[in-house]
Structures are given as structure tokens and as C-alpha cells.
Amino acid sequence: MGAAPRHGSLKKFLAAAEAVLDFVGTVLVGLSLAAISIQVFYRYVLNDATTWSDTVAATSLAWMTFIAGTAAVRRNENIAVGFLVERFGPKGRKLVDTFGHLVVLAFALALTYSGLILMDVTRSAVVEGFGFHVTWAQFYSISVVSGVLMTLFTLERLASLWRRA
């Protein structure tokens, strides 16, 4: 009895997480554009150089990649080569799809673990160039967030695949 509402709320949570990822990714595109525009404006109009714009734009790009790449997992937007598996019957297709999801799951878990190690190693190192205090561990934390959400999204897709049967 209680299973359906639990599934419903988990689905809602994952949909909300995807919407947040979309929103933050979109804002980061704007932030990159703003950083580059300000850099050019400072150099030619104010005859001055910014020290932070390169770092902000490059950091936004790295975060945008993890964020949008994670949302793409839920929407299944990553490019795959399907010509062979499209020839399989429904059973074979299901097995192959399950295997594919397990590969994604393994990579997502590895990314989470690897990100945690990286955060631990760099917890007191400070990123230069922001103009305010940011540690490398904080910067690398996006890989852990990405890994965890990728894991949840993949589990959701796996559950959906097996429920369809």
C-alpha cells in the first residue's frame, strides 16, 4: 500500500532535482557570457584587466558540464550507437538495456567515490583567482553531487525498465 506514494515522492524529488540542474546550468551559461563580456568591457572601456573573469568562466564551464551532463542521464540525451541493439527482440533489448544502465551506474558510483577522495585530498587548498575564499574541495564537490544524482537517475531508469514488463 505504501509503495506507490513512496515511488511518487521519489519521482517528484528526482523531477525537482532535474529542474534545479536545468535552471543552474542555464544560469551558468549566462554567467560565462557575463564574465567574458565584462572582461572585454574592462580591457577596452576601462583600460583595466580583470583577474577573476577567466577563472569564473572556466569554473562555470566545468560545473555546467557536470550539471547538464547529469540532467542528460535522466532524459536519456546522451548519444549512443543503436543500430545493433535495435535488431534485438524485446527480451534481448531489455537485457542489453539493463546491462547499459549497470555500466552507467558503475561509472556514476566510481565518479562519486573518486570525487570524495579528490575533495579529501584538496580540502585546505584554495582556488586562486576568484577574489573570495573557495577551496578546491568545494569546487570538486560538483563531481560528487553529479555522481550521486546520476546514480539515482539511473536507478530510476532501471526501475522503470523492469516495471514496464
Partner: protein, 428 residues
């Protein structure tokens, strides 16, 4: 040996439908752990960040944003109208207009599939209405749009410039002659077929006033590649800044066009930013995973092993063998992952043979772009067959003559380096 294991695993996962980025990621993960054991765990995330966190790569989302915003501003209509005003007076005008519009569109977008969708959704229905066979209409569109990443600006060139550590602006310049050559060859073939079979009609007589009016409407888009190249060569911008400036220009263009029409398309502009984030995520995550594989290949000395295998072959034979290998890979891989895989594998070898890395970049991009036309994957053919309402097989069948011409152009680009290197040689 471990590099070979990682590559075989990658291809195995690819064939069973695992998304390319995770095939790369998982195969590389196994490679890293086999090479470095427990110490390898930190390398996985570290290497992905190392690959991504570079200011020059910010040009990729900026060029994507520019193309998305220009589309919001209605640039596709303006470019198609301008192309038709130039060639509408000859038989097969829509086929020629299609190739011309695709070539012009390449100047504002670095992505082949985006160009194919944008130009194809306008030109294919118009061509079918004019009596062109749907398969031919789709084939002209798919083939013509492979120049998108060859003519600047180009996402593939930025990726190659990063992976090969060569000047992106020189790559942009190097792509101009090969891109125009391929367009001219395809236009010539489309004209010949249309004339021979009596396809289409002459839309109108040539009128300078019509061409000038269409030119003025298309001018905001036509100036973009010139602004980018001139801005960088003039020392005003870096390539990344030029991409940012182009994106800002496109934002003002979309806002201005909306304001003139009485309604600023805020929702569409937000959607353009969102789409840019999505596209960036897919492309850059691929780059990050490729960076990890490149690390595995480099640590396991795969390029050296490859070079040892090719020992005894001269420069021209090696280029031929590499072209065949890339054509084969292109049957299965999208151009971006193909490029990121081939660069660390082949570049050291061709450099040792005295091939200019800029020249090799153009060979690589032209070759991989042919892959979007060839089955079994043929992403462009998938798009055009859907728009034309025909089967994938009908579409790929109609594409074979274009593939043959594309391979001939690839041979010219491979064996006449001046086609690529002449324009870059004019700048310091």
C-alpha cells in the same frame, strides 16, 4: 596492452548500445585502475576536471549560444532567402539554394546536425513541393551541411585545437578552402542532376534589387564569421572572447528583432540559454571522458605502439591507412568523440612523419564529417529522412554519390596540404 584492453572494451560497450560517454568513461576507468591500482581512484575525477577547466574551451558554449540565439532572431529565413536570391534564376535553383544556404549557415553555427535541422526543415519541403524526389532533397541537405564544422566557427576545430595544442584561429582559417571546395563540388553535382532530370524550375529571374534586399536582411548573420576572424587576427579578442562577443551580438540581435516586431521573445531566449547548457553538457562530458581515455592511452604508450606497427610505411601510405581507419570509425562514431579518440592515437605518428598538425586537423574533421552521411549511424541522414518522410535506407541510398564525391574531396585535402595551409600561411 592496457590501452588496447581499454579500446576494445570501449568498442564492445559502444556496440551494445551503452551511451558513448559512458562507454568511454567506463573503459577508461578500467584502464586507470589496471594501470594505477588503488591510486587510480583519485585520477578519474581529477583527469575529467583537468580536461574541462580551461578558459579556451568556454568558446564552445558561447558559439552554441550564438547559433541558438541567431535562430531565435529568425536568421534561417534570412539566409535561405538570400541564397535563393543568388541562385533562384537557374534550373535546380532550390537544390543550389540549399547548398548555398547550408554554406552560409555554416558561418554562424559550428554544428552539422543543428544546420541540417534548421536548413532542412525549410528547404526539403520546398524542394519536394517543386517536384524534386524526396530522397534527393534530403540527400542534398544532409551532404551540404557537412561543411558546418569545416567552415569557421567550428566546435570540432576548438576541440581539436585543445587536444592537439594548436592555434584554433589557424584551424578556422585552414577550414575555409576545403569547406568551400566541398560545397562547390556538391553544388555542381546537385546542379548536374537537376538539369539532367529536369528537377525544379527557375524560381525567378535574377534581380539585383532582390539580391541586395535579401543581403541586407541576412547581413547581421553574414558578418559573424568575418567579425570573429578579423577580431582575433586584429588582436582585439582571443578566440574565446570572440565567441563571447558573437553570443552577445546574437543576444542583442534576438532582442532587437523582437523589439522591432513588438514582442521580445524572452521565453525563446531563455530556451536558447537552456539548450546551450544541455548541448554543452553532452559535448563537454564527452570531452572529459575522452580526456580520461587519452590519459590511459598515453600512459600505456598506445600511440608509440601504433607508430611501431606503421613502421616501414611512408607519409602518403600512412595518411591513406589513417584515413581508412578514421572512415571506418566514422561509420560508428559521431564526429566529436571520433575526433577526441583519433587525435591522441594518430597525431604523434603523423607529426613524426612531418605532417603539419593544422593540416591533419582538417583531414580529421573532413573525414569524420563524412561519417554523418554513412550508415549504420548516419546521424544527418536520420534527420533528413524524417523531414523528407522517407525510410532511412532510401535516404542513405541517395547519399552514395555525395559520399563518393566527399571521399574524392577528402583525398584532395589529404594530398594537397596547400588547400588547408595556404590561408593560415598568410597570417603571422
Amino acid at each position: 596492452m592496457i590501452g588496447v584492453v581499454a579500446l576494445l572494451l570501449f568498442f564492445g560497450l559502444l556496440l551494445v548500445g551503452v551511451p558513448i560517454v559512458f562507454s568511454l568513461g567506463f573503459a577508461s576507468l578500467v584502464g586507470v585502475l589496471l594501470l594505477d591500482g588503488q591510486n587510480g581512484w583519485a585520477i578519474v575525477a581529477m583527469q575529467i576536471f583537468e580536461t574541462l577547466q580551461h578558459f579556451p574551451l568556454v568558446a564552445i558554449p558561447m558559439f552554441l549560444l550564438m547559433a541558438n540565439l541567431m535562430t531565435v532572431g529568425g536568421v534561417t529565413n534570412a539566409l535561405v532567402a538570400f541564397a535563393n536570391s543568388l541562385v533562384g534564376h537557374v534550373r535546380g535553383s532550390l537544390a543550389l539554394g540549399n547548398v548555398t544556404a547550408s554554406t552560409l549557415f555554416a558561418g554562424i553555427s559550428g554544428s552539422c546536425l543543428a544546420d541540417t535541422t534548421a536548413v532542412g526543415s525549410m528547404m526539403i519541403p520546398a524542394m519536394i513541393k517543386e517536384g524534386y524526389p524526396p530522397a534527393f532533397a534530403g540527400a542534398v541537405t544532409a551532404a551540404a551541411n557537412i561543411v558546418g564544422p569545416i567552415i569557421p566557427p567550428s566546435i570540432l576545430m576548438i576541440l581539436y585545437g585543445f587536444a592537439a595544442e594548436v592555434s584554433v584561429i589557424k584551424l578556422f582559417l585552414a577550414g575555409i578552402v576545403p569547406g568551400v571546395l566541398i560545397s562547390a563540388v556538391f553544388a555542381g553535382y546537385a546542379y548536374w542532376v537537376s538539369r539532367r532530370n529536369g528537377y525544379g524550375s527557375m524560381a525567378h529571374h535574377f534581380a539585383l534589387s532582390r539580391a541586395l534586399r535579401a543581403f541586407v536582411y541576412a547581413l547581421p548573420a553574414l558578418v559573424i564569421p568575418a567579425l570573429i576572424v578579423a577580431g582575433v587576427l586584429g588582436g582585439v579578442f582571443t578566440v574565446t572572447e570572440s565567441a563571447g562577443a558573437a553570443a552577445l551580438y546574437a543576444l542583442f540581435y534576438a532582442l532587437g528583432r523582437g523589439a522591432l516586431k513588438g514582442a521580445v521573445p524572452w521565453r525563446e531566449i531563455w530556451a536558447a540559454f537552456r539548450q546551450t547548457a544541455i548541448d554543452t553538457g553532452v559535448i563537454m562530458f564527452l570531452l572529459g571522458a575522452s580526456g580520461l581515455l587519452a590519459w590511459v592511452l598515453s600512459r600505456s604508450q598506445a600511440p608509440q605502439a601504433m607508430a611501431a606497427m606503421m613502421q616501414g610505411f611512408g607519409k602518403y601510405e600512412t595518411l591513406m591507412l589513417i584515413n581508412l581507419a578514421i572512415l571506418f570509425l566514422g561509420l560508428f562514431l559521431e564526429p566529436a568523440p571520433g575526433l577526441l579518440l583519433c587525435t591522441p592515437l594518430f597525431l604523434p605518428m603523423v607529426k613524426a612523419l612531418g605532417v603539419d598538425p593544422i593540416h591533419f586537423g582538417i583531414i580529421l574533421v573532413v573525414n569524420l564529417q563524412l561519417g554523418v552521411l554513412s550508415p549504420p549511424v548516419a546521424a544527418s541522414a536520420v534527420v533528413t529522412s524524417r523531414i523528407a518522410g522517407i525510410s532511412f535506407e532510401q535516404q542513405t541510398h541517395a547519399l552514395w554519390p555525395f559520399m563518393g564525391l566527399g571521399v574524392a574531396a577528402l583525398l584532395l585535402v589529404t594530398y594537397i596540404p596547400a588547400l588547408s595551409l595556404w590561408i593560415p600561411s598568410l597570417v603571422k
